[in-house]
């Protein structure tokens, strides 16, 4: 396993990202109490998230679909500007930078996406796909150097460099995902955000891509932010795991503690739902549905579905607190009754 340091490569401080989906002025007009007013519809995708990712570590983010994982990832690599909060890369604040000032950081932070079919340009050969980021970040680089770099990286991800002139449709899903990873590695990044990189792949191909990610990390000392809904995969490759619900952090702990002794009621429910080979176990059934991120619940955002919710949970937002092995945001854990 990789050995992370204790220095953060990336720090998130109270990051908030909301989307205004109200449309034009006319759609915002509403009558309330006989008066005409403007009303916006806001999707509260990420609601104040704080954590560090350490040099050399894999931090995974898990949670139900729509809980804000991808939005957070996009904020981190600068594809979204947060509404508030701060993001630091190796101690330098990057969230407010203009595209030009962001350029040097873009090269150090790369993103790999879920769908190896749509994330590669179908009209570009593998060579073109790979040289584009290199030329962009190193204007004036010599052709020989580009060629060497492509050969080196293709070999590293296990795709024969002789295939550099082929197009994406000539590759299988697993090979395409290798090319996406190769593209991320071209500019020698320090940090990679991988958003569901193996979800579209078959079991045997998943194993190949996970091995490639782990191997590359060991060789290059990379840090990963890894997003996946497959909790067995997350357990396998993560040093620490962050559990999100409705745009907030519920719990963040080292992987073994999280899987062995989950503290937050939502984490418990999530882990009990993982089907386990050869075990017929009972699942914690949550009541109700995930509320809409347009109207967030009061107090603890999980209170409507939590089997332990009480009066305080409905009124008061739980603070994120240290619980020994990690951090948890839950009144009952804080009070010591869970």
């Amino acid at each position: 396993m990789n050995t992370p340091t204790s220095t953060p490569i990336l720090s998130l401080k109270n990051v908030v990202k909301h989307f205004d989906i109200s449309g034009g002025l006319l759609e915002k007009l509403h009558f309330t109490d006989g008066r005409l007013g403007l009303q916006s519809t806001i999707v509260q995708a990420v609601n104040g998230v704080d954590f560090d990712i350490l040099e050399g570590e894999t931090l995974s983010v898990v949670g139900e679909s729509g809980c804000g994982k991808s939005t957070l990832a996009r904020c981190v690599v600068g594809l979204h500007k947060p509404n508030s909060g701060e993001i630091y890369f190796r101690g330098e604040r990057i969230d407010h930078l203009n595209p030009k000032a962001m350029m040097p950081y873009r090269a150090r932070m790369q993103m790999v996406f879920q769908d190896p079919y749509s994330s590669l340009n179908p009209r570009m050969t593998v060579q073109k796909t790979l040289e584009e980021p290199l030329k962009f970040h190193n204007p004036g680089i010599r052709n020989g150097e580009i060629k060497d770099r492509i050969d080196e990286v293709m070999e590293q991800v296990g795709v024969d460099p002789l295939w550099a002139l082929r197009y994406p449709h000539e590759f299988s899903g697993g090979q395409r995902q290798r090319v996406s990873i190769a593209r991320a590695l071209m500019v020698d990044p320090a940090f990679i955000v991988a958003d569901e990189p193996i979800s579209a792949l078959d079991v045997s191909v998943q194993a190949q891509i996970l091995n490639l990610l782990m191997e590359t990390q060991a060789k290059r000392g990379l840090s990963y932010m890894f997003i996946s809904h497959d909790l067995s995969v997350v357990r396998h490759i993560s040093n620490r795991v962050a559990v999100m619900y409705l745009g907030k952090l519920c719990e963040l702990t080292d992987s073994e503690s999280l899987y062995n002794t989950p503290r937050h009621p939502y984490t418990k429910a999530l882990l009990s739902a993982i089907p386990q080979l050869g075990v017929k176990k009972s699942h914690i059934r949550l009541k109700g549905e995930v509320p809409s991120p347009i109207n967030l619940p009061t107090g603890c955002i999980f209170h409507g579905r939590c089997p332990y919710a009480d009066e305080r949970c409905i009124r008061e937002i739980p603070e994120v607190r240290d619980c020994g092995t990690g951090i948890v945001a839950c009144h009952r854990v804080e009070e010591g009754s869970l």
Partner: protein, 327 residues
């Protein structure tokens, strides 16, 4: 006991411009009343084609080239389109991956449900509505009376999939074929849907064919598993035997490749190579180019299914199991 479904030596082919390919190759399977069978295998193994062929939904250029399918003793593979329509969506229901695709976005849930009932049963609108309500309650939709007047987009993904299940239950079918019913859903919702399917099979005596690539899910839900590779069933038997004591090298590889079978952080087992495409299935054993146990005979002779355990019906199509190859 007579099986509810019995598939014998089924071949399904696709007539392509470049030649005819075999998507299902000599497949035999049977399913008892109330039994839950899992079909597993990687993408392109033929799982969905098999599911579609049971209800005769193979469309051109595909066709059933050989074999028979018996349902409750009747050879339904010989039925005309009209005859099969009386069975499809009535005695045999299907649930597919994407719940949005199966629902009509412009009709209320109530309209869609009553129409589905009236298409197969001779009854009044009121009676149909009563059945719709009963089935919605059965899949644990709260306040079903209110829900009847809502449109599909007003439900969450998990609720939509539960509504599809409610629709598939309307006619009290004998068999449900569920093709990756939870792949698009979150784990918590997946767990809920799987619990629901088990509950329904147990309380209604329904049989289930669950098609999935997720070995964890089949191991929780099913009693028997058939593993498919390149259009053939290469191993079949009780779920527990297949998970704990797999006999075919491909099944062994699939299980070994799962993160659960290694310590966190260790490299995962990789099955070498890739699943062959239908146009170049290797002679002999289709798995031989990837098999770590391969022998001389595997390259020339195709292995037939042989018993690993006659008592439990655990079988595998591998020369190691038949004894033609020493391990």
């Amino acid at each position: 006991m007579e099986p509810i479904l019995d598939i014998k030596n089924l071949d399904v082919k696709f007539a392509l411009r470049t030649g005819t390919v075999t998507a299902i190759d000599n497949l035999s399977l049977s399913l008892a009343k109330g039994e839950r069978l899992g079909i597993v295998g990687e993408s392109g193994a033929g799982k969905s084609v098999m599911g579609f062929s049971i209800i005769n939904l193979i469309r051109k250029p595909g066709y059933i080239a050989n074999g028979s399918i018996y349902f409750r003793g009747e050879e339904i593979s010989r039925y005309s389109e009209e005859e099969i329509r009386a069975i499809r969506g009535n005695r045999i229901s299907t649930i597919f991956q994407d719940p949005m695709m199966a629902l009509n976005p412009v009709l209320t849930i109530g309209t869609q449900m009553t129409e589905a009932i009236l298409a197969h049963m001779d009854m009044t609108q009121e009676e149909a509505e009563r059945i719709a309500l009963e089935k919605l309650a059965k899949v644990h939709i709260p306040a079903p009376e209110k829900r009847l007047n809502q449109y599909p987009h007003e439900f969450s993904g998990g609720m939509r999939q539960r509504i599809i299940i409610a629709i598939s239950l309307l006619t009290d079918p004998d068999l449900i074929i569920a093709d990756e019913p939870t792949t698009a859903l979150d784990v918590t919702i997946q767990a809920e849907i799987m619990d629901l399917l088990i509950e329904l099979c147990e309380s209604e005596g329904m049989s289930l064919i669950l098609i999935t690539h997720d070995l964890g899910v089949v191991s929780e839900v099913t009693e028997r598993i058939a593993v498919m590779y390149a259009g053939r069933v290469i191993e079949t038997g009780p779920t527990e035997a297949i998970i704990k004591n797999p006999q075919h090298p491909y099944t062994q590889g699939l299980l070994k490749a799962l993160p659960e079978s290694r310590t966190p952080g260790e490299p995962l087992y990789q099955i070498p190579g890739m699943m062959p495409t239908l146009t170049d299935i290797p002679p002999g054993c289709a798995f031989n180019p990837r098999c770590p146990m391969r022998g001389e005979i595997c390259i020339t002779k195709r292995p037939e299914a042989a018993f690993a355990d006659e008592h439990t019906g655990h079988m595998a199509a591998c020369h190691l199991v038949s004894g033609d190859l020493a391990s």
